[in-house]
């Protein structure tokens, strides 16, 4: 006999369902008298350092239809590459930047929008720089477990070409699914759950 390992099992995920807004963005769905503001609505203030950017996108299903009930969260480093988190050991993050945003898809179009700053460079585990990126997490009705992916920037070609994660994607023709498109002042990052353009999702 050996000692049992006694690890617990992670709680199984269940879909966020169509009414995730009630719990996560109640003001958005018209429940305005419980919380002053929905969490994750604003990531920046007037004193936030760095270049302001707008990120927009839509989650699409396997038929190319917009997913109108999705909830999207993002997590990113500040302009200097530091995360606003106690687990960030490399330096102090900008106190005027939360790094975390949450946005429900528009109920008519499915589009989400984040007003944020362009993230700085963060090191990979071996110390090599990772290209600037924003981590995305998507839940919706029909998604049994939240989906993680990353958005990279189209104007960072050299950094993207050297990125330790982008370069190890076996099917290199899928890399463009992780790179936003620049449309005027807006970075557009559409997420395809399925199909020819299926976004690369991560098991992190």
């Amino acid at each position: 006999m050996t000692q049992p390992l006694h690890y617990l099992k992670e709680t199984p995920s269940q879909t966020a369902g169509p009414y995730v807004h009630i719990g996560c963005t109640p003001n958005f769905t018209g429940i305005t008298n419980v919380y002053a503001e929905d969490l994750g609505t604003s990531m920046v203030n007037d004193q936030t350092e760095g270049a302001r950017i707008t990120v927009k996108g839509t989650v699409y299903d396997g038929m190319g239809a917009p997913v109108k009930d999705a909830l999207v969260e993002i997590w990113q480093a500040d302009a200097n590459g530091f995360y606003n988190s106690p687990s960030e050991m490399r330096g102090a993050a900008d106190p005027n930047f939360t790094g975390w945003g949450r946005c429900p898809g528009d109920m008519e179009t499915g589009e989400f929008t984040f007003e944020t700053v362009k993230p700085g460079i963060v090191p990979f585990k071996d110390g090599r720089p990772m290209a600037p990126h924003i981590t995305f997490w998507v839940v919706a009705r029909g998604i049994n477990i939240g989906l993680h992916t990353r958005m990279y920037f189209p104007d960072e070609e050299a950094a993207n070409n050297a990125d330790p994660i982008l370069t190890r994607i076996e099917h290199q023709q899928r890399v463009p699914t992780l790179i936003a498109k620049k449309e005027g002042d807006v970075y557009r990052f559409d997420i395809h759950l399925q199909g020819d353009q299926e976004t690369v999702f991560f098991d992190i």
């Binding site: 617990l8 709680t11 269940q14 009630i22 109640p26 606003n84 106690p86 975390w100 098991d203």
Partner: protein
Amino acid sequence: MSNKKVETGAFYARDRAWQPPAYTPTYKTSVLRSPRKALLSLDNTVSEITGPVFGHNQIGELDNDLLLNFSETGELPVGERIIVHGRVLDERGVPVSGALIEMWQANAGGRYRHKKETYLAPLDPNFGGCGRTITDENGFYSFRTVKPGPYPWPNGVNDWRPAHIHFSVFGNGFAQRLITQMYFEGDPLIWKCPIVRSIPDEAAVKQLIAPLDMASTIPMDSLSYKFDIVLRGRRSTLFENRREGN
């Protein structure tokens, strides 16, 4: 604030056989919303190890009291009064303090307060259906609400959701992010539900069923259910590879 040392290790790999797969055709909406290509496995970098922190100052006094946090007149919602409580632990059994838990649910009749909700059960003017709380230094949380009713949903011609409360949980790293649902002991609808059955392992389903907890009831006031939540554990950073001069 606790004096616990901040942890910076990568999270244990997720056990994908314990978690529901993306594609579960008996839950029809998953058919077109499930990635079909392999996920890219990624040992955590600082982008996944870190996560936002929510302070107790962001949480209002009534946020975890769904009996009182919506009603403007102070009148109570209809339904069985219950307390839901438990702990957030990680896979090592270590309590997760400072975890943000957001919960949402239907009212006692099975009706949600949402623009897209169409079930004919009535709204309860005294029930909003949302709440939130943060775990204490030992990982404990609790909230007060009414027991939600089951409700029908368009999937098969006659599918009903068992009574459930939705939970959104933030641990202390973004890779721990989890949304799930809590079910109630003894509900015969649990094992018929296509969403529950997206979870392949029966033992995993049982992890979502909260037992009646008579020890924590309040006599002549509220029943109680106990629901513990387990988030991914962290590796120790003591033995991580370090590059020379780093």
